[in-house]
């Protein structure tokens, strides 16, 4: 039988990378269906040697589809996911709409691949800032049991979509010319500025983005006794999120033990040579699929702490790559109907 993959939100910032990855990684399927809202339906998009027409996202669109990769806002996901599941497709949803549902596995293939086996037609991919954190924590958790995490993020504007990237570019051009610019995505200017708020006010002074880092990390690592204090900050960087992370573990780890654990872990590349000014930065991690870790050192403020710096392409591992990896896992585990 032939296998069909549908990509929902195919024309968006993440959706277009999903298509790129499906081609690059040579994912095994027979038919590709591109779906988007009325605004984008009808557009023609190149995939390998073919040119495909974007079809309208509507209730009947998922007939004979095996796997759906959805890169849409929450409200769109809430609408289309039931259509797809009802039609018998398995949905990999990158939105935040379903991640915390107990019947929905929240999966990072390097971290908790087996969670996928319990799926009931819907698998969620985590939030971008959570994904790189969970990938980084996993080897430390396995070796020494993570007890506490303090994380401050430096998040790129591409996390707010194509419009976020454009806001940074046009806002920066205007600022350099000392001209005004009306931001469309950010509540404050982001050019040459920092905004210590991502998402809305959610819980006890924390934002929705921060609480995602708490709840999603606990769910992915399968341990809700891990205590997490996040601070999420938008920075004037186009792409790649960075995180300053301090972890306390039950069993103490030296910096070199932590470095070895990171080096051996799937999906992690270590760049860590401070004396020669080598460490991950947004510009040297852009368009790469791994989670990059550097500045690995003992926490000077606790007995069992490790501090490090973590950068990852939020559109790739933080979104498109992880979703495509989940689709690959579904295919390799023969969890689709075909």
């Amino acid at each position: 039988m032939s296998k069909t993959i549908a990509v929902v939100g195919a024309t968006g910032a993440v959706g277009s990378i999903v298509l790129q990855l499906l081609a690059e990684r040579n994912v095994q399927f027979d038919h590709l269906k591109l779906l988007a809202s009325a605004r984008s339906a009808g557009k023609r998009i190149k995939f390998k040697s073919q040119e495909l027409t974007v079809e309208l996202l509507e209730p009947g669109a998922f007939e004979n589809v095996d796997i759906v990769i959805g890169s849409t806002p929450d409200d769109v996901a809430l609408q289309f996911v039931p259509w797809a599941v009802q039609a018998g497709a398995i949905v990999v949803d990158e939105s935040g709409a379903h991640r915390m549902r107990p019947d929905v596995p929240l999966v990072i293939p390097e971290v908790n691949p087996d969670a996928i086996d319990d799926h009931q037609g819907l698998i969620a991919s985590p939030n971008c800032s959570t994904t790189q954190l969970a990938v980084a924590l996993k080897p430390l958790h396995d070796a020494a049991r993570v007890r506490r995490v303090i994380v401050s993020t430096y998040q790129a504007t591409s996390g707010a979509g194509v419009a976020g990237e454009r806001d940074l570019q046009l806002g920066s051009e205007a600022a350099l010319k000392q001209q005004p610019y009306q931001y469309t995505t950010f509540v404050h200017p982001i050019a040459f500025n920092l905004i210590p708020q991502i998402g809305s006010s959610k819980y006890e002074g924390y934002t929705s983005e921060e609480m995602k880092m708490v709840y999603e990390t606990q769910k992915i690592l399968g341990d809700d006794t891990i205590q997490i204090c996040p601070t999420c900050v938008r920075v004037p960087v186009t792409n790649c999120h960075s995180e300053s992370i301090v972890v306390e573990t039950e069993k103490p780890l030296t910096a070199s033990e932590a470095r070895e654990l990171f080096e051996r872990a799937a999906g992690i590349t270590v760049i860590d040579d401070l004396a020669n000014s080598k460490y991950p930065m947004p510009l040297n991690c852009d368009k790469l699929d791994d989670v990059f870790i550097g500045r690995i050192r003992k926490d000077l403020s606790s007995k069992n702490g490790i501090a490090f710096w973590c950068v990852s392409d939020n559109l790739r591992k933080g979104a498109a790559t992880n979703a495509v990896q989940i689709a690959e896992l579904l295919i390799s585990r023969k969890l689709t109907k075909c």
Copy 2:
């Protein structure tokens, strides 16, 4: 008797703000002497209604000078400070050259003004990233005894001087036009990027800037049992350093108790209304003298923790303002010879 103030490094990024503050704050003195290296000597600078000529920084330059405010690199301070002290002047040194000397008080007037009384001709002003941290910690330390601090910084390019600011501007212009640019101050591109290194590799994987935050904070608060884990990161922001801070105290504090302590503290302005997107940011703290605090909340990862966000103009409170305040304190305490 008449009082003379000399400003060393009068033509630099910080020195020019020192002059501005001496005028604005109406500091009481009779004569002003401007000193700089041969490169800048001879320049004419306006001060109030006068026009002053910058004189050459040389051994004989400090005769009859009462107070010296030095805004120079470490190597220049190491050279001129002995000349000034020997001539009988009291030096307020903003460089890092003498801060950790046991015979040199390291002073923030809102935090440890009495340390000034023991001066032996030389008083040091702390590093920019330390100053705002110590101002923020002070009220928490007094009320609840600070035990542990985890701080991640978001430091502006003006911390690397006028050349740092220019690097960001020209680098951003070039990046927007997709043209190359040769940075003069930063070892990596800073436009639309982050550099998780400020200063050199110093101690166990920490940079010199990070170790300043540890040692200087302990010295200013007079308590070397305070454990501090810093991560210092350069961000593409022109001016004002920001810090994501988590503090553990011996006595627990609620978020509202911490907020009240901050609100009552000298030199601190609280901007904290997440629901209405109000918090300190580099753009709304620029050219202001206070330390600004927002995002005040309980640390979700410890019993006795408080998390908050702290922004301050690194050229002002982080350098010029603090030095001028020290000079004012010297004058008000009649610690000069006149």
